[in-house]
């Protein structure tokens, strides 16, 4: 049961925003729709809400087809990026709105409103004018308003993107707690993978389909096939799902380099002998055994005392390319360094087997955590892979 989307296509005049997406959200589950801006994730959400018509495919909830069911009869909740509170109603009036349309008695409305405001941490705000609220408070009111009628499904459209970073991170944790506590089934659209991982039980990565479908993961190519059929005009063919997985699984095993790159993996080392490589990471350049994706903390700068004996190891050995950061290593040139989150990150120009790339590497040892002794621009440094920060990508 829950939400079931089948081959959904959303078109605006001339362009296709969503190119055939199939998706299931179980009862009580929180699913994040993650993707870069313009990939059609908001359009898909609006189609589920009934705000955009489907050009093809269908949306069903609890086994019931929602075609022909107007927005106001779907019993869903929707949280916009900027709240969209009713300026002529006070906070309590906003929260109670959905209960009024459901003809809930006044006393029950008031009780429910109080309960919801407490849930979102705004107890006692009933009579405040919405114009006096801060951005974070507005979003909390909007959340309370959406939750008040106990929606069968809550749709959240980048609800925190208008807020500053600290508040965003805090609210993401709170929303997760609120959704879990109320057992709300939810679809959460975001372009921020940290946010998606914080809030969701499962994450669906969305993006434009791979050209020709080649090089995309097996899951994605299934879906991309549908999109290609729909795209007779050959114009923008709309977003498709690239991978759906739980956060840990998604991080551990991205289905393709595109998904991995979107999650923040910064480089890909072919898992095959260098002689098999044409030297680029284009679709034809896949190693026999796939790629090793280097995560944001998957590369380390070895301290000078450790790297000294290894000067001259310009390229990884032919047997184990990149395998085992401690054993192998690459020489690169430091470009600059920043100290943040308690460690030093060095920007390095280095060739991992696919040409010289500018990558970020964590400075190991005491020098790194102290924030001193970072290599100066131009210094030769040795970098090695940290297996804990890497993943194997097949496609």
């Amino acid at each position: 049961m829950g939400l079931r989307v089948r081959d959904a296509v959303v078109r605006y005049e001339g362009t296709t925003a969503v190119g055939g997406v199939s998706l299931d959200v179980a009862d009580g589950e929180v699913l994040a729709l993650l993707g870069p801006s313009g990939c059609g994730k908001s359009s898909l959400l609006r189609a589920v809400a009934g705000l955009e018509p489907l050009a093809a495919g269908g949306v069903a909830f609890d086994g019931q087809d929602l075609a022909g069911v107007p927005v106001h009869r779907r019993g869903f909740g929707l949280l916009f990026q900027d709240g969209q509170l009713f300026a002529h109603r006070d906070v309590a009036g906003n929260v109670a709105y959905g209960l009024e349309t459901a003809r809930v008695p006044r006393a029950e409305r008031r009780e429910r409103g109080r309960e919801l405001l407490e849930l979102v941490g705004l107890a006692g705000y009933e009579r405040r004018a919405v114009s006096t609220l801060s951005g974070g408070e507005r979003q909390r009111v909007a959340l309370a308003r959406a939750l008040a009628p106990r929606p069968r499904l809550l749709l959240l459209d980048e609800p925190f993107s208008a807020l500053d970073r600290g508040l965003r991170e805090r609210l993401a944790v709170e929303v997760r707690a609120i959704l879990t506590r109320t057992g709300t089934t939810a679809v959460f659209v975001t372009h921020d993978h940290d946010e998606a991982f914080t809030v969701a039980d499962r994450v669906a990565v969305m993006g434009a389909p791979e050209p020709g479908g080649a090089g995309s993961g097996p899951r994605a190519s299934d879906v991309a096939g549908t999109a290609a059929e729909d795209d007779a005009a050959g114009r923008s063919s709309g977003g498709v799902l690239l991978q759906v997985a739980a956060p840990e699984e998604l991080w551990r095993a991205p289905a393709s380099r595109r998904v991995a790159r979107f999650l923040g993996y910064q480089a890909f080392v072919p898992l095959a002998g260098p002689e098999a490589l044409p030297g680029s990471d284009g679709p034809g350049g896949a190693g026999r055994d796939g790629w090793l994706a280097v995560g944001p903390a998957g590369l380390r700068v070895l301290p000078p005392d450790v790297s000294e004996p290894r000067w001259g190891t310009a390229h990884p050995g032919p047997d184990r390319p990149g395998g085992g950061g401690a054993a192998g290593g690459w020489t690169g040139e430091a470009v600059g360094s920043v100290f943040r989150r308690g460690r030093t990150e060095v920007t390095v120009d280095v060739d991992l087997g696919a040409g010289v790339q500018r990558l970020a590497a964590v400075l190991d040892g005491a020098a790194g955590t102290a924030g001193t002794g970072a290599p100066a621009p131009g210094d030769k440094v040795t970098v090695a892979l940290d297996p804990a920060g890497c993943a194997v990508v097949r496609g």
């Binding site: 005049e13 009862d27 009580g28 809400a49 705000l51 018509p53 909830f61 019931q64 929602l66 022909g68 069911v69 107007p70 927005v71 106001h72 009869r73 779907r74 019993g75 869903f76 909740g77 929707l78 916009f80 969209q84 009713f86 300026a87 002529h88 709105y97 959905g98 349309t101 459901a102 003809r103 809930v104 029950e108 004018a129 919405v130 114009s131 006096t132 308003r145 959406a146 009628p149 106990r150 069968r152 749709l155 109320t182 057992g183």
Partner: protein, 588 residues
């Protein structure tokens, strides 16, 4: 909590969930068709039909029956007459001069009144708006009182000159420029100009290269609207231009009323329509760009305190002060002053006392007070009609339907309802007389029912109502409606809970505009009002046309009464608009 416990138990809610709309789309379509159909029917019967009938009469030979065949010789005769081209030249010249002067004088005021803060700013803003709603006959009387020999500016010998007409037109339309441009300027992000300054631009250069281009759409839109108002000005030109100066509009009036020359009048009406359609096209394009620009800058930028030590502020403030004092206040003060001078040259309330009479040598059929009562009754009816029709139009036009064809239809509707602004009110009025003796074949003579005058005035007022309500409705974020919809509000309820509270804020102003326009309407009313049911502007015009210092004094006093009444209505309307509804301070 179990799975069922967290569902709302209210049975009403369960029953409604997931239920397909009962013929929802169909019902909604019918609703919108009705909302568009009622105004269209109104416009068709009370505007298009009379105008087409009258214009057609000019082209049909043999007493205006279709059987007589079409006779286009009128075109040849009129278009080859040098008099016609002199009038066209005068109309365009007067409109061009009027709009250029309005823009030049209005820009500094827009800056001072919307970009600067100083004590009394609200008062000056209100003062600037008053002339716009004054009846044209009153403005004509005020300026002629000022310019005629013995008036405050009698020494300048401006009476019955082109310059006098242009000055009066600027007096009228100054507020259009100030409000339109000021409204945008107020919302313009000051940081663009600050960025230019930081890049080394002088204040003047920053204004010229950054601010002015940003304001251009508002300036173009205001200029086009002012051009339109100037080109179709009637009462002012009739009173001030005397016999030497005229426009297409006054010529239509002269041709129809003095010479019963419908053929010439019809050709002139078509000619005027061409001029007006051009100005409307320019203004609607500029308006579309402006509303787009407003989308980009919804925030209200903070106004700086007025600093007279800075050269730009000092220049702008000086120009504004001189304009407001010399062009706006002087004629009004002169009018009020002269109204207290009796026929025998003494000062006192004689002219006002005379308002209870029918004038010297019985110039009138009714007393001025009776005419005032008629005016008020008529205006109430006209305002109700205009607000209902105009409100419906604004509602329909504010929608952005998904289908391209429907969007185009909405655009056409928008344009069609601007037409009454441009078609000669004289044509409308005379067309009523011609067609509405048996409207739609019904056996009721609307001409004697007393309904004709308010209906004609409503036709003239509808465009203003639309222009007042529409921007407010368009400014509603469509997602606000979607939010209500997702929370279970049916389309009608969304309209009630989202659109209505916002529209109410502009409705007060719309009612005020409609009421004020109706109070001052002269062109159509002069045709339709029977002598025993004359309105105040008609009475004033009749009084200044009659000989006798006593009648002229009465005209001045009546003008003051009408001006005060109109200004009071507008002030009340601005108050009604109040910000009690949206605590956000009026911006959405």
């Amino acid at each position: 909590m179990d799975a069922d416990g967290r569902r709302l138990t209210a049975p009403a809610l369960r029953g409604r969930r997931g239920a397909p709309g009962r013929g929802g789309a169909l019902g909604r379509g019918a609703g919108w068709a009705l909302a568009a159909g009622v105004p269209l029917l109104f416009l068709g019967v009370f505007f298009a039909w009379p105008v087409v009938a009258l214009v057609g009469r000019g082209f049909l030979a043999d007493g205006g029956t279709v059987a007589g065949g079409v006779d286009l010789s009128g075109f040849r005769d009129v278009l080859t007459s040098p008099r016609t081209w002199r009038l066209v030249g005068l109309t365009l010249g007067q409109a061009a001069a009027g709009s250029a002067a309005s823009v030049l004088l209005g820009l500094p005021a827009a800056y001072v009144l919307y970009r600067c803060r100083f004590p009394g700013r609200t008062l000056v803003r209100g003062l600037v708006t008053v002339p716009f709603v004054l009846p044209s006959v009153v403005v004509g009387v005020a300026f002629s009182a000022l310019l005629q020999p013995g008036g405050l500016l009698g020494w300048a010998h401006l009476e019955e000159t082109f310059l006098a007409v242009v000055l009066a037109l600027v007096f009228f339309n100054y507020a259009v420029v100030v409000r339109t441009v000021g409204g945008l300027w107020e919302r313009l992000d000051p940081r663009a100009e600050q960025a230019a300054r930081a890049l080394g631009a002088s204040p003047w250069r920053a204004f010229r290269t950054v601010t002015l281009p940003a304001l251009a759409p508002a300036i173009a839109s205001a200029a086009a609207v002012v051009f339109l108002f100037c080109a179709t000005a009637f009462g002012v030109v009739l009173v001030l231009g005397g016999i030497r100066y005229g426009t297409i509009e006054t010529e239509i009036w002269t041709r129809t009323t003095q010479f019963l020359d419908l053929r010439t009048a019809a050709v002139l009406s078509v000619l005027q329509l061409v001029v007006v359609a051009g100005a409307l096209a320019v203004s609607s394009r500029a308006r579309a760009r402006r509303e787009h620009a407003l989308d980009l800058q919804p925030e209200r930028a903070a106004a700086q305190p007025l600093d007279l030590r800075r050269a730009p502020d000092a220049v702008a403030a000086t120009v504004t002060a001189l304009t407001v004092a010399g062009l706006l206040l002087l004629p009004l003060a002169g009018l009020v002053l002269r109204s207290f001078r009796a026929a025998d040259g003494t000062w006192g309330l004689d002219n006002y006392v005379a308002l209870g009479t029918t004038g010297g040598r019985n110039a009138l059929v009714v007393t001025v007070w009776e005419a005032l009562a008629t005016s008020l009754r008529t205006a109430v009816l006209a305002a109700v009609i205009a607000v209902v029709v105009g409100g419906l139009v604004a509602l329909v036009v504010s929608r952005r339907p998904r289908a391209r064809a429907a969007r185009r239809a909405v655009g056409v509707l928008d344009a069609v309802f601007m037409l009454p602004l441009g078609v000669s009110a004289v044509t409308v009025g005379f067309g009523f007389l011609v067609t509405l003796d048996r409207p739609l074949g019904l056996d009721v003579d609307l001409r004697t029912s007393g309904l004709l005058v308010p209906v004609a005035q409503a036709v003239v007022a509808v465009p203003l109502v639309v222009r007042t309500v529409l921007p407010v409705l368009r400014a509603i974020d469509p997602r606000l409606r979607e939010a209500a919809s997702v929370l279970g509000a049916a389309p009608g309820r969304v309209l009630r809970d989202v659109d209505l509270p916002v529209a109410l804020r502009s409705l007060g102003l719309a009612i005020g505009f409609a009421f004020a326009v109706s109070l001052g309407e002269f062109g159509a009313t002069s045709f339709l009002a029977r002598p025993d049911a004359a309105t105040l502007p008609v009475v004033i015009f009749r009084l200044i046309g009659r000989p006798g210092a006593e009648n002229y004094g009465m005209a001045l006093a009546a003008s003051v009464v009408l001006a005060v009444l109109t200004a009071a209505v507008m002030m009340l309307a601005e108050r009604l608009r109040g910000d009690r509804l949206g605590a956000a301070g009026g911006e959405f």
